[in-house]
Amino acid sequence: MSDWRRRSHPAWIAFLVHRLSGLALALFLPVHFWALGQAIQGEAALEGFLRWSDNPVLKVAETVLVILLAAHLAGGLRVLALEFLGWRAQQKTMVAASAGVAFAAGLLFLLNLGA
């Protein structure tokens, strides 16, 4: 589709990652808060919730969320640098650095899970 060819540049891809990660996080946030609020009815209830969340599917989901959060954070710093500091020239570098931060966070989370 012709629309996609005009979008094939780093800043547009950064925008898409920022938007989709933001969408996922914004939808997850109320669920996260609500579930935590439900689980925290004393230590025993929280322990039960944590043991339930030990299953591998949830660990994968948590890793994805950590990566999304790091990606959204890094992409957000790009937007803030552009809007408030007026950084224009180094946008490609900013995009690359954002991707790096996101993957590093995900990797660290996985390593620490195993530790």
Binding site: S2, D3, R5, R6, R7, A11, R78, G86
Partner: protein, 247 residues
Amino acid sequence: MGEATAMLRVKVWRGNAEGGAMADYAVPARANQTVLDVVTHIQREVDPTLAYRFACRVGMCGSCAMVVNGRPRWTCRTHVSRVAQDGALELRPLSNLPVIRDLATDMAPFFDKWAKARGTFQPKDAPDGSVPDDFAVVPPATKQRQQADAGIECIGCGVCYSGCDIVAWNPDYLGPAALNRAWTLVNDVRDGARKDRLAAVAGDAGCHACHSTQSCTAHCPKGIDPSGAIAGLKRSLFWPGFKGGVR
């Protein structure tokens, strides 16, 4: 003409406001040929009913922009050799604008938005339109002058407007060119309408609709950075935005 001339395979969108379809043309490939040359060849040698628009042919007037192989470009300064893929070209009218016929779009909505963004210079010294007594001195080294200079070479071709997804998703959005123009005037120390102009470009149809996809900056044939200009407008509106002083 001993050997057979290499031919370009050119698909051109033909139609009007009601709709249309791609039509195929074969055009002889030439050295240093521009996309506009190709369109002109089709109209002069193959089908005189083809509608398109151009004037200066040298990148000054901003009238010949089209979507070339999926990207908006000024066709008079775009060499075929740089954009053709295996000798194939696909030409469409600018997106985000109503089509009049074939490759000619109605630019009225685009320029109406310049007016909405208060894109006209309003002299501080002569609000009634009279001629000021003396020339204004604006030192080239000042920051405001440099900000204005960065965006002043816009030729109004509509490439950024056509390439912008936010315009496509939010039809009221003023778009990169109009906002870039507003930013040059906000930085023009001779201008007296700063406050009104900032009010005109604020909000969901103005600079705050921009998500910094930077397609405008990526596609601008003049190398202007409208995305950076829009960021400047947002920056100027951050504190007024909190106070609610701008609608």
